[in-house]
Subunit: 312 residues, 2 copies
């Protein structure tokens, strides 16, 4: 009876590694550097070495390991084929087969990192107890991961849950990084909040603590908590866009819960009081009771979710 | 080896019934009236009688029937519980258990009718060969059904795929039947097309064949095919709204294909030339290559999909 599982989260600079018991108990957690030179050819061998080394160190036998889950910063299809991971230098190849080959045939399961993190939040984080959830990551961009009946929604080309680029506003003149105009990411990411703040400051003479020093998502929500009227107006705009976007997502997948993570979510539950009014205004009645929760695993969501990939 | 399956599509006035071989070959197809009096208490007994009668007529043994699939005009959860079907007078009860009890324990599977029709189009219709698809029904309203990895996306409360009420336009002053403003259904349904035509006629002095007689989705698209400039403008508006809506849906589930059915789809492939420009303008690049096809099963999609419910 295999009682251990490895969860690996491959990032552009470090690879986060976790050794878990099958019930999700963390046995060990560590990082190795990501060597991206030569098309990232060292990344998987380095991971394999680290796994085998850890098994030797902990006296864990091969037959006691259920497998290795891997979150990749790029699309991974249902056959384990990565379709380019630009930050790693990877092209198109079967990651599961390759890593399994380096591990003497051990079971390897791969997934996109945002989707895998969503699975982690379902298993041991803010979405625990639910099997239909939408994880929303409000970081530099807006990422997402969708879980349906306990399984990741991968999509036809691995772009399932790429919710940051849903068109949410007509008439936008600033271009999104994706090339379109009016994407959710332009308003609900950390950079989106800063942009909304800049516009609001420029359009108003109102006094605000945001006029002193550099504006970030953190300074905006700190000012909201301090009662700053201009910052509150920025939060209302943020909430209007994000609530509208989440209502559209609910109209498609009707989730039990939204789990909100990423840097912006550090503001805490105050976010929900700005998201909920717009969500309730725009959503179809069948999804009115969807719950909202904060992500709780932070940077560890990826290793938990990767481990769960093997166990599901 | 069970080689037959029943597919049942329960509507407000008639129940469509199909007897299939397991490979989808139609053995027989007929209808019975829906008796909705007394909370629709006769509906399931009538269906059970019709099934048992057909088995006797065709000399089909109980052990040769894989089961009975049922599409219901209301939400049905993963346990087979119907959560009200207003058109039938039904409240909340376990439809699968009840019908199975009337059929001496035969396997019964239920699903929402729009979702079941989507499954039918995947199995034997416009979505054949695909396992990740979004079926869009442009009728009096806009309905939808989403299939992920060959299975219906039901959602937390059975509202998965209720895409007609995604908010698509700010500032709309006409209220949607759902109570909100600016839903996809207000622009892309048959009644939505008529509304857009009415607005366009009122706002313009342009000559048009639509100024004579009653306007319907059919007269609009017939006029489009005849080169009527005002009708073309209506089709462009329709396509802009629907393309924008489908792009948002693609940003969530990243389907292989959209299968477009319902009355409006009788206009044929001309629809795609109005939907595609907006879809391409708004969609995230990972979903740019999603295919578009017309539904082919018409009113039989429900019985095919219901049969497939049992076989999946």
């Amino acid at each position: 009876m295999a009682s251990y599982v490895f969860g690996i989260d491959v990032g552009g600079t470090t690879v986060k590694m976790g050794l878990f018991q099958n019930d999700g108990t963390v046995v060990d957690k560590w990082e190795i550097p990501t060597r991206t030179e030569n098309g990232g050819e060292k990344v998987l061998p380095d991971i394999a070495d680290a796994i085998l080394g850890k098994m030797a160190e902990k006296h864990i036998d091969r037959k006691d390991v259920a497998g290795v889950g891997v979150g990749v910063p790029g699309p991974v299809d249902g056959q384990g084929i990565v379709h380019r991971a630009v930050n790693l230098g990877w092209g198109v190849f079967n990651m599961e087969e390759t890593l399994s080959g380096l591990l003497d045939g051990m079971v390897v399961k791969g997934g996109n990192d945002a989707n895998v993190a969503a699975l982690g939040e379902m298993w041991k984080g803010g979405g625990q107890g639910y099997s239909n959830l939408v994880a929303v990551t409000l970081g530099t961009g807006v990422g997402g991961g969708i879980i349906i009946d306990g399984k990741i929604l991968t999509g036809a080309t691995g772009a399932g849950g790429e919710i940051g680029h849903i068109h949410i506003q007509d008439g936008e003149t600033d271009q999104c990084g994706c090339g379109n105009y009016g994407c959710l990411e332009e308003y609900a990411s950390a950079t989106g909040v800063v942009r909304l703040a800049g516009r609001t400051l420029a359009a108003s003479d109102m006094d605000s603590v945001l006029r002193a020093g550099e504006v970030s998502a953190k300074t905006v929500f700190d000012a909201v908590k301090a009662g700053d009227a201009l910052a509150i107006s920025v939060a209302e705009q943020f909430g209007e866009y994000l609530g509208k976007g989440l209502a559209a997502i609910a109209g498609v997948v009707n989730p039990e819960i939204f789990v909100i993570g990423g840097g912006v979510s550090k503001a805490g539950e105050v976010l929900f009081q700005y998201i909920q009014p717009a969500y309730q205004k725009y959503v179809f009645h069948g999804s009115k009771d969807a719950k909202f929760a904060l992500a709780t695993l932070g940077n560890d969501a990826g290793i938990f979710g990767a481990a769960k990939l093997v166990l599901e």
